[in-house]
Symmetry: C2
Subunit: 136 residues, 2 copies
DNA sequence: TATTGTTATACTCTATAACTATA
DNA sequence: TATAGTTATAGAGTATAACAATA
């Protein structure tokens, strides 16, 4: 079929993102994690007592949509909430949460290494700077 | 906030794809189109009498999920279906569909040009080949 | 047997509005 | 006034199973 769409970088960007996201989702799925949950565990590990709102801003996820995601992390015993003041609560990993975070981190590190390996060497160092220009 | 995620090309790939997709969606929304509809109009224009199944394979969209999308294109009078054999039907743009396709094509061309312009010159030519390696 | 088009369904992701309580 | 957390809800996008008709 005649298809000019792959010549568009924006189109290929989306296809590449979808393809790689599906691969990572499959790997994280093996330990019962979704991508957003893995991202949250990594962020919370590096930022003890972070608030749900701050995490949402960092990941571009609306406050309202954080609620069910964090509830699942809490129900699994991976995070705890401690009051900061009357309206904010700090999120911190439990020991179990830290163990899962380490697993997730290892999966992600391996995935990202393999992803970069698939990029031809002459283009490899250009990928991240080019992507950065499109969203940061 | 401490955030190591942007150092991962796979993460940045997804963030960049989300950010740029949102921008294109906004522009296509001004003429009442979603991205998948624009892609379909472009593909059908280049492949008269293409089948729904073939389009789905090309865009990685399941047959079942093509039904409501194509129904909307048909309800708007942008495509017509003509029987090929007893079980297949060819899709072709109407004159109205072609007019909308041209508008969509112009929006996409402009969007893609501006997207590439945002990538620093030294990285620009590497973006598409790097992305291609991740999904094609 | 494989393919096409279709229906039904469910799950995820995302966006918006609104509310309470607190800073 | 602005922010944090929450509830409810609606719209997309996506995945699976199943079916009839046809190749």
């Amino acid at each position: 079929m005649r298809d000019q769409l792959p010549r568009y970088p924006g189109y290929s960007l989306r296809r590449a993102a979808n393809a790689t996201a599906a691969q990572l989702a499959a790997r994280l799925g093996e330990i019962g994690l979704r991508q957003v949950e893995a991202s949250l565990l990594l962020l919370i590990a590096d930022n003890p007592d972070v608030t749900a709102s701050a995490l949402g801003r960092q990941l571009d996820i609306q406050r309202a949509n954080m609620v069910p995601v964090l509830k699942r992390l809490e129900d699994n015993g991976w995070i705890t909430r401690t009051p900061i003041d009357g309206k904010s609560q700090g999120l911190t990993l439990t020991a179990e949460g830290l163990a899962v975070k380490k697993q997730a981190g290892a999966i992600i590190e391996k995935f990202e290494r393999e992803l970069l390996d698939r990029v031809p060497a002459e283009h490899r160092d250009h990928l991240l700077p080019a992507l950065d220009a499109l969203w940061r």
